[in-house]
Amino acid sequence: MERPPEPERVDQPGRVSARPLRGADLLVVAVGGAVGAVLRFLIDSAAPDALFPWPTLGINVAGAFALGALPALAVVRRSHRVAAALGPGVLGGFTTVSAWAGQVRDQAAGGHVGVAGTYLAVTLGAGLLAAAIGRRVAHRREPDGASR
């Protein structure tokens, strides 16, 4: 496994290992995660049951965009703790890989292999695109695209 030196990654929102672990960080991630998960639960509960899990798809794509765009907020750039509360906290708890994997498995096991493949691919395609667009939004004001 290659581990080239990449100091510019320190401020990247997908990466959280740049700082020593602090109890207060864990607390804000726990509270943020609870808020995000309850939001996901409420959206899921409000949506009608369907073979294609639109609510989870929407949640994951919106959450991927929001996490990528998070450094656009000045308060996120200023405070590591606010960044932890909103990123790994709220957006981490809001989005989910486990429900996505469970839905793909259910669809395939139920004989809906085409739906499973489509749902898998659309989640990956739209989610990665949304994350990339979010990052572009956050880095728009940095002409060199470098870290802050």
């Binding site: 581990r3 080239p4 997908g14 995660g33 998960a37 957006l91 989910t96 890989v97 994350a131």
Partner: protein, 110 residues
């Protein structure tokens, strides 16, 4: 009441993910393990005939809060095309594979 159980589960899962994601180096191994393990547990819990409250706590809350699609997606687009491809393929195969194995174990246990 159900929403409260979701909150409690996620309040445990999210900080656990935060700690394990610190293992991420050049390649996001920590998040890969988190998403695979969380999906495996999700499959296991889904196969057991849990009541609504227990499912809210363990499935929607704990596993849902533990795993994270947003971190996965942002980590993927932050990396070189080669690392991103490996990471996306590994996460997809490991998460869905673990979920299927978890389900199978759950059916055998239930």
């Amino acid at each position: 009441m159900t929403a409260l159980l979701v909150a409690v589960g996620a309040a445990v899962g999210a900080p656990l993910r935060y700690v394990l994601a610190r293992l991420d180096g050049g390649f996001p191994t920590g998040m890969l393990v988190v998403n695979a393990v969380g999906s495996g547990l999700f499959g296991l819990f889904a196969a057991l005939s849990l009541d609504e409250a227990t499912w809210a706590l363990l499935g929607t809350g704990l596993c849902g809060g533990f795993t994270s699609f947003s971190s996965f997606a942002v980590q993927a687009v932050e990396r070189s095309p080669r690392d991103a491809t490996s990471y996306v393929v590994a996460t997809t195969v490991a998460s869905i594979g673990a979920c299927a194995i978890g389900w199978w174990l759950g059916i055998a246990m239930d």
